[in-house]
Subunit: 202 residues, 2 copies
């Protein structure tokens, strides 16, 4: 299988997920600044043109990083990163969505609309970027309160929700458009997850 | 188990999902216009204050409609709505995310920012609403091209991705802030899914 990718928080989520699973695959660099992801060849494989995208040996193409991770979970179940029971799977889904929709997408919305990084291909509204930048840190309070009670975001076990939140925090610190408050439980948790060997995967 | 809910596309997704599974549960109406979802009691159960939320008999609370559906899938596997194999599960995740992030959330963004429906509790940016309103219909072309090749959005089988897209289309038509083009394959597919008995569940 081949992973088509460009440097991004989403690619990093997949790298960490694969490293946790001990999985490897071929890599194909996609130059998104040169709009390679919008070429006819790429769009035929992955309509919408997003990266990363996983191409299986039989030609099946899977877009969306969480879908790629879910496929990886199906071919290598250990360690379980999407929850082992019905309740755990639901909690992982819940926290994964909160981390992604409530935080990562807000940070990305702030970044794209404030800096105009993709202004050659999308309409940017700086005022909306500010709304995203103000909303993102508020979600962190929710995560901090959860992490006061549990080892990891979705409970006792490390999961994809932790990967999403830690990657989103690193991205937020890198792009500097969102103010990240220092919160004690997030700090304890981040110290643990960010030093896992999987987090140095590239 | 108890479903806390308010009329919304997300509640409707859960209703249809449960009807497909033949599942029932107690219902608790939450008045979001009166901000009942932001009360201390509700926030203790579901930080963030979103609806719907499922409370299990042991007190476990599951927020996020897709997480609720995933729990339902775990207690009643048939009919399978999240994919039966690893590849199918990945494809369902991919199309479910495209339908939700790429269309439903864009329609919601257009609705909330253009009409100011929740302006008592969130900052609305009309210009951003227009960006969402312009982007949403473009995604429909991708869905139409997929539905030219497959019976349902994620392949041969009806899945949660179909529920999300059909509910989002109904919501878009109701709130009238997004122009919905007539596309032949979506029309064929919508005629089939929207007449399933589960779609009349309330």
């Amino acid at each position: 299988m081949k992973l088509y990718e460009a440097p991004s928080p989403n690619a990093r989520r997949v790298h960490i997920f694969m490293a946790e699973k001990g999985l490897e695959c071929d890599r194909v660099a996609v130059d998104i600044r040169a709009a390679e992801n919008l070429s006819a060849d790429y769009l035929a494989k992955n309509p919408g043109g997003r990266v990363p995208m996983l191409e299986l040996d039989d030609g099946t193409c899977i877009g969306e990083s969480v879908a790629i991770c879910r496929y990886m979970e199906s071919i290598q179940s250990e360690p379980v990163l999407f929850g082992a029971t019905g309740v755990e799977a639901a909690k992982v889904e819940m926290w994964q969505r909160r981390a992604e929709l409530g935080f990562l997408l807000e940070v990305a919305g702030a970044f794209r609309n404030i800096t105009g990084f993709f202004k050659d291909r999308e309409t940017c509204v700086a005022e909306w970027g500010q709304v995203c930048a103000e909303r993102a840190p508020k979600m962190l309070t929710m995560f901090d309160e959860q992490l006061a009670q549990t080892s990891y975001l979705a409970g006792d076990n490390f999961s994809i929700a932790d990967i999403t939140l830690a990657v989103a925090l690193d991205f937020a610190r890198m792009v500097k458009v969102v103010e990240i408050p220092e919160l004690p439980n997030i700090q304890r948790w981040y110290g643990e997850v960010s030093t896992r060997s999987s987090f140095s995967a590239t």
